[in-house]
């Protein structure tokens, strides 16, 4: 499969995530769009690791394995990030009884 298909698919997913972050007001949906962008990057990393293996696999049997290890560590960091981020959103909901990010403008005043 040509690599540019994967590149354009990942770019499209990433830009949909960015549009979601810019257009939605719900903090949880914004958080989900960030997860979507992270998954787009993961997909591209795996595709690039397979591309690297296709070109250099003859000389080095484990060429490109680093990319998949990186994806594994990104998933580890994402799991930790979600636990802390959702705790922050729950705390925010407890204080202002809303998940609308428009109400979070106290630093402006």
């Amino acid at each position: 499969m040509p690599i540019n298909y994967y590149i354009f698919l990942s770019i499209a997913l990433f830009c949909i995530g960015i549009v979601g972050v810019l257009t939605r007001r719900n903090a949880i949906i914004i958080f989900m769009c960030i997860e979507l962008m992270m998954n787009a990057v993961n997909l591209l990393l795996v595709a690039f690791s397979k591309m690297h293996h296709a070109t250099n696999g003859a000389t080095n049997a484990s060429a490109g394995i680093d990319g998949q290890i990186f994806v594994f560590f990104i998933m580890v960091v994402a799991a930790a990030e979600v636990s802390v981020g959702l705790a922050i959103i729950v705390m925010m909901y407890r204080n202002i009884h809303s998940v609308d990010v428009n109400f979070l403008n106290r630093l402006k005043h």
Partner: protein, 166 residues
């Protein structure tokens, strides 16, 4: 058009449609369900690329653990279509235009780059198997692996401290 290409296009269309529905659906619960569909199609892409370990981890960690956590929080707060915050239509339009411009810039920059002549190997190659990944993870990357356990511990403590009622 062989089976691999049909699968690739099917999974791509499913992923993009799911991502669009995540952004556009009014009910947050529907957004979570569409995001799970997107994650499953991305896992299908991983299987197509013969990265089987990452496909299973993606389903277990993302579609299983993280999305259940999201769903749990949304149902805890009782969010639905009526509590969805309203936003100015012009701001929405501006966000869409900004994202579309970013998409155009990326595509224009990468359309004629040299890397697009390469191919990613599909259905072959054994670097994605759990045997090879595990050997690499516990030899070259063993220190980051142990540090990530400290990260998890601190994230756990942080979530408890933030969520605690003072």
């Amino acid at each position: 058009m062989n089976v691999t290409q049909i699968l690739f296009w099917f999974l791509s269309v499913l992923a993009l449609f799911g991502a669009l529905m995540v952004v556009t659906s009014k009910n947050p619960v529907h957004s979570v369900l569409w995001l799970i569909a997107t994650f499953f199609s991305i896992s299908g892409h991983y299987i197509l690329l013969n990265a089987q370990f990452l496909a299973i981890v993606n389903i277990i960690v993302y579609a299983g653990a993280i999305m259940v956590l999201f769903l749990f929080v949304i149902m805890l707060m009782n969010l639905n279509k009526t509590t969805e915050p309203k936003k100015n239509r012009w701001l929405k339009l501006a966000g869409g235009v900004a994202g579309g411009c970013l998409l155009l810039v990326f595509i224009a920059a990468l359309k004629s780059s040299e890397i697009t002549q390469q191919t990613a190997e599909v259905k072959t190659g054994d670097i994605g198997l759990i045997k090879n990944l595990g050997r690499e993870l516990f030899s070259t990357y063993v220190v980051p692996f142990e540090i990530s356990s400290i990260l998890f511990l601190s994230a756990m403590v942080g979530a408890v401290v933030i969520g605690k009622k003072e």
